[in-house]
């Protein structure tokens, strides 16, 4: 299967996410606050937790200095429901603590009201 409608745009509000399937794969559709859609494998690369049970939130950033927190990327960070590992939705699902690792992602496009995942 090369492409599939996974949901309607109205089903996910900005800052929210939902699980779906793409063929036989469990996928996670995230809608960032800017309205964009992103699709990932719905399984943490660490120990396999279901990511849809986690949270979309912001993150303290690497520009923070000791004792001085900088917090941004509100709604653009996916946190695992188990160990709390953070993944940057808008940066290919890369792990904040180790950007060499990322959640496998899928391409997404929107046609009319359809959110379409494709390879």
């Amino acid at each position: 299967m090369k492409e599939q409608v996974v949901c309607k745009t109205s089903e996910i509000q900005p800052g929210e996410m939902m699980k779906s399937t793409f063929g036989k794969q469990n996928v996670l559709i995230c809608r960032t606050p800017d309205g964009d859609f992103h699709a990932f494998m719905n399984q943490c690369i660490h120990q396999g937790a279901p990511l849809d049970k986690g949270m979309m939130c912001g993150a303290t950033t690497e520009s923070s200095e000791p004792g001085d927190y900088q917090y941004c990327h509100q709604g653009e960070i996916l946190r695992c429901p188990w160990h709390g590992r953070e993944f940057d939705i808008k940066n290919e699902g890369r792990m904040l603590a180790n950007p060499d690792k990322k959640i496998p992602s899928f391409k997404v496009r929107v046609e009319d009201e359809d959110v379409i995942v494709y390879k």
């Binding site: 120990q47 937790a49 695992c80 429901p81 188990w82």
Partner: protein, 356 residues
Amino acid sequence: MPKHQIPIIDTDIHERVQYEDILDRLEEPFRHYIANCHWIQEKHMPYTQPSVAGVDRADAKLPDGRPAGSDLPFMQEQLLDDIGHEAGILTSALDPSPSSMHGWHEMAAALATAYNDWQIETWLDKDERIYGSVHIAAQERDAAVKEIERVGPHPKMVQVLLPIDDIMWGDPYYHPIFEAAEKHNLMIGMHHNEPPVYYGKWPRYFIEWHTLIPTAHMKQITNLMFNGVFEKFPNLGLIMIEAGFTFIPHLMWKMDQQYRDLRHEVPWLKRKPSDIMREQVRFTTQPAEELTKKEFMSLIEQMGSDEMLCFSTDYPHWDFDAPDRALPNMDPELKQKIFADNAKNFYPKLPNPKEG
């Protein structure tokens, strides 16, 4: 056994009670203090919660809003049936958890009794795979011994829980607790509560505290070792719960080297500390550091034994270890030991067909 070749003995499962569950099992005036005076167990960790759902797996919270670990059918579905557990040992959680309570000895002792009754009725009697831990208010020694005598003979109680916090349990004053445990074929399980890891204080960040929890476990092992607990109670075993295992070789080497120099101070120790550890001390695997197979096998070799590690998930807590993901691949014989046989050989009251 849907997903795994080896039926697992899970040595750390956190069931959770809520105050209303045990009120009718509490004697007065302790019920009054909770029901009418709103007493709750004090906990004071001064940090943000570590993960998405506090200290729990976010997907372990019950659909009706009750906290993770508070419902047997849900735990069966998400853990015991799904993974294919042969057995699991309950170690309780948080608030109230009488085995980890500070202060107010009378309330702690009453709470332990109510909790043990609740645990037996709600969990041990309801699923043949689930085994339990005797909760005691160990700071109240004589009441603790009495409680071990009361519920220790239950066929599914396999250990006595002692908190790792600010009391060192090797002191001879507490030896009657070990004597009572040994008498009933109960092992000692130690799980950290809120141990001071920075010179009696909290460090600034949770990540510092959580990184250094193994140091609090090392203190208790060292304390029991040199106070002669293992020599005095040769049939007693100690299992250290939830500090991982990478510190074990260091502690064995260090205690052996110190013993060679300083034996004169602890002449009641007849065996090398490392031998005592191999014979009487066990460690749950979670939270496993992410080791390669080479690193893991090197560590086992440094321990001089592949019988010290007992697999644990820590369900339903946030730093849960998945049985098929947490440890590196290993040969089937070693896997059988770590995931099942080591625990069966350690706990006298777990069914163990090999021993007939």
